[in-house]
């Protein structure tokens, strides 16, 4: 039987390195101004998918990502680590999507790849930290969800047992297929690139990327069709237009405020013994401590 695992991954701006040009006037993110990375928890998700593949004969891992042309970088990255194939969902009409519009778009793409047993993604992406897209895709597919997955306990062709990380403990659950899983950052880190796969897949390209290449890939792609990263646009998805992109996003940014600090009259002290001692005396005197 065929066993298909779809990994939803996102290329994210590295929010740890935010510069001045990070936001556009309309309040959306100016992705071009930031370094782009593989969303960290999506790497945990990829690892869990690859672990399933390791244990189930004939299982395939397909990576889906939505984003601009350069997001194909994370599909190649996933292929270097063991993913079998990738699809880039890309169209200007998807721009400005909130989580609801994003989940709708991803759902339409997943639907084209059914049947599948598992849809796996990271719990949340670091550029929004909302943790909404995984459950929203699951709802649209009408399948159960297992959120905050930390460990793949057992997996077989009929069911999966997963340990979940909760705020105050752990819970082990079992589900039949299909099921959606969102993976927590405390799960195993992703395996490194495998040099054999790097050599095999380094020429993987989307159509748009191929057009920009100076080298002629025609013959290579004729012999190795798996190198083609398919691009899907709005026309490839059976979408209700009103549910896509900015217009399909019910949440609107009303305004963006730069952070203004309310200045207190901070008393500056040195690390000098006298300064520290008088501060501690003062706090004790005011009954704040002691």
């Amino acid at each position: 039987m065929s066993f298909r695992i779809i990994v939803l991954a996102k290329q994210v701006p590295d929010t740890r390195n935010v510069g001045k040009d990070a936001m556009k006037a309309d309040g959306t993110v100016n992705r071009a101004a930031l370094p782009a990375i593989f969303n960290p928890e999506d790497l945990n998700a990829l690892e869990m998918a690859l672990k399933v593949k390791d244990q189930i004969k004939g299982a395939e891992v397909i990576v889906l990502t939505m984003g601009p042309t350069r997001a194909a970088e994370i599909i190649r990255e996933a292929m270097y680590r063991g993913a079998d194939k990738g699809y880039l969902i890309t169209d200007r009409k998807f721009a400005g999507s909130d989580t609801l519009a994003t989940s709708y778009t991803l759902y339409l793409a997943v639907k084209k790849l059914l049947p599948c047993q598992m849809v796996i993604c990271g719990r949340q992406a670091i550029d929004g930290d909302t943790a909404q897209v995984g459950p929203q895709v699951a709802e649209k597919l009408g399948i159960p969800q297992i959120t905050y997955a930390e460990d793949l306990v057992t997996v077989s062709e009929d069911k999966v047992v997963i340990k979940r990380r909760l705020e105050r403990g752990v819970e082990t659950v079992e589900s039949t297929y299909p099921v959606a899983v969102t993976v927590h950052g405390s799960a195993d880190s992703c395996r490194p690139r495998i040099s054999k796969l790097l050599l095999k897949n380094k020429h993987a390209r989307t159509v748009t990327e191929l057009q920009a290449e100076t080298q002629d890939y025609t013959e290579l792609y004729a012999n190795r069709p798996y190198l083609m990263i398919d691009e899907w646009t709005v026309d490839d998805l059976d979408a209700e237009q009103g549910r896509l992109g900015l217009s399909g996003s019910p949440t609107k940014v009303k305004k963006i405020d730069n952070v203004i600090l309310l200045h207190k009259e901070s008393t500056f002290l040195t690390s000098d013994d006298r300064d520290v001692e008088s501060l501690m005396k003062e706090l004790i005197g005011q009954h704040i401590i002691g």
């Binding site: 929010t15 930290d129 709802e139 940014v253 309310l262 200045h263 004790i284 401590i289």
Partner: protein, 340 residues
């Protein structure tokens, strides 16, 4: 009645979650501003005593779903109860705690209802909106306010068209307030016979290990918090020592938690805990807005930082310029020398 709804979460011990009491308190104020009712949905098993506990927060209606299969929490049956209720009642606003449960449940519901959801709000207000393109005016929207994007900005999010307007809020962000200990509301039992279907129980719970909250930084009067600047979990030991001497707890920024210096339960800020201690000692913390959102209500703030221009200094009562490893031991020494 376009009411304000709060999802009332039940803890492992069968109590109402703190965050739910906080949201009921906030929900009451929002309902007053909108001249509407505050309603809550309570899902679990053996909940007979709970409505009496929450009415004093100003709850007008408790929608009660009581069934042995509804505890412990599972996504699909809880979602089904709420979606059915929301479709019937058409709430104006729906609030969920940003807990493991709320963050699992709320997006599922927003997807089913095709409405907007804002995560981890640090403030909720009522206000109007004029859409500049169409000149359409919207009255009394829920402003969902949260830091965004590395904390450099504060975003105000609205859902002009879709209802309910949904948001999640972390524990500790809103204040708990009893309105009237004799406040009385109605209990409406939800008929589950047509709602719960076998297929909703496809995910089976095999085993659970839930621990008591060991670390309780929320109620600590003194918090010694460390940032990435503390440098290592080894250096954090000093902070633990100071906290112990002062009878407080140790907190941390997200960067320090992500670096593995201390456990996640100690994280203070937008995606962690919000605290209001008598004294907050910020060690090597630069002061990103997400962190400040979780501590700027502290009565007194001391910043220890090598950088005189660190943003945290602007909200500190005292700023000590210098290294944490030099100053913290001195604080311990002089506290011991001067306290009785």
């Amino acid at each position: 009645m376009k009411s304000v709804f709060v999802y009332c979460e039940i803890t492992e011990e069968g109590n109402v979650a703190e965050v739910s009491l906080e949201l009921l308190s906030k929900g009451r104020k929002l309902a007053n501003e909108l001249s509407t009712n505050l309603e809550t949905v309570l899902i679990g098993h053996q909940l007979d005593g709970i409505p009496a506990l929450i009415f004093p927060y100003g709850v007008d209606v408790v929608h009660l779903a009581d069934h042995p299969e509804l505890f412990p929490y599972r996504t699909l049956p809880h979602a089904a109860v709420i979606i059915d209720l929301f479709e019937r009642e058409q709430p104006e606003v729906a609030l969920f705690g940003a807990t493991s449960v709320g963050r699992d449940l709320a997006p599922r519901i927003s997807s089913a209802m095709q409405c907007g959801l804002t995560a981890d709000c640090t403030s909720l207000e009522i206000g109007d909106h004029l859409e500049s393109k169409t000149q359409r005016e919207f009255k009394n929207l829920l402003y969902q306010i949260r830091p965004a994007f590395g904390g450099n900005i504060i975003a105000t999010i609205i859902n002009p068209e879709t209802r309910p307007q949904m948001a999640t809020v972390r524990e500790g962000v809103m204040k708990q307030e009893i309105v009237d200990k004799n406040y009385s509301g109605k209990i409406k039992k939800i008929d589950l016979s047509t709602i719960l279907k076998d297929e909703y129980f496809a995910v089976r719970i095999l085993d659970r290990h839930i621990e008591q909250n060991k670390i309780n930084i929320k109620s600590a009067q003194v918090i010694v918090a460390g940032g990435y600047g503390v440098g290592s979990s080894e250096n954090f030991k000093m902070l633990f020592e100071l906290a112990e001497v002062l009878g407080g707890e140790v907190g941390a920024t997200r960067a320090a938690v992500d670096a593995g210096f201390v456990e996640h339960e100690r994280q203070i800020g937008q995606t962690g805990v919000t605290v209001r201690p008598k004294l907050y000692i910020a060690c090597g913390i630069s002061g990103a807005v997400q962190h400040r959102a979780g501590m700027d209500q502290s009565a007194k703030i001391i910043s220890i930082n090598t950088d005189p221009n660190a943003p945290i200094n602007a909200i500190a009562d005292y700023t000590i310029i210098g290294s944490v490893s030099e100053i913290v031991p001195k604080m311990i020494k002089y506290y011991k020398a001067n306290s009785k």
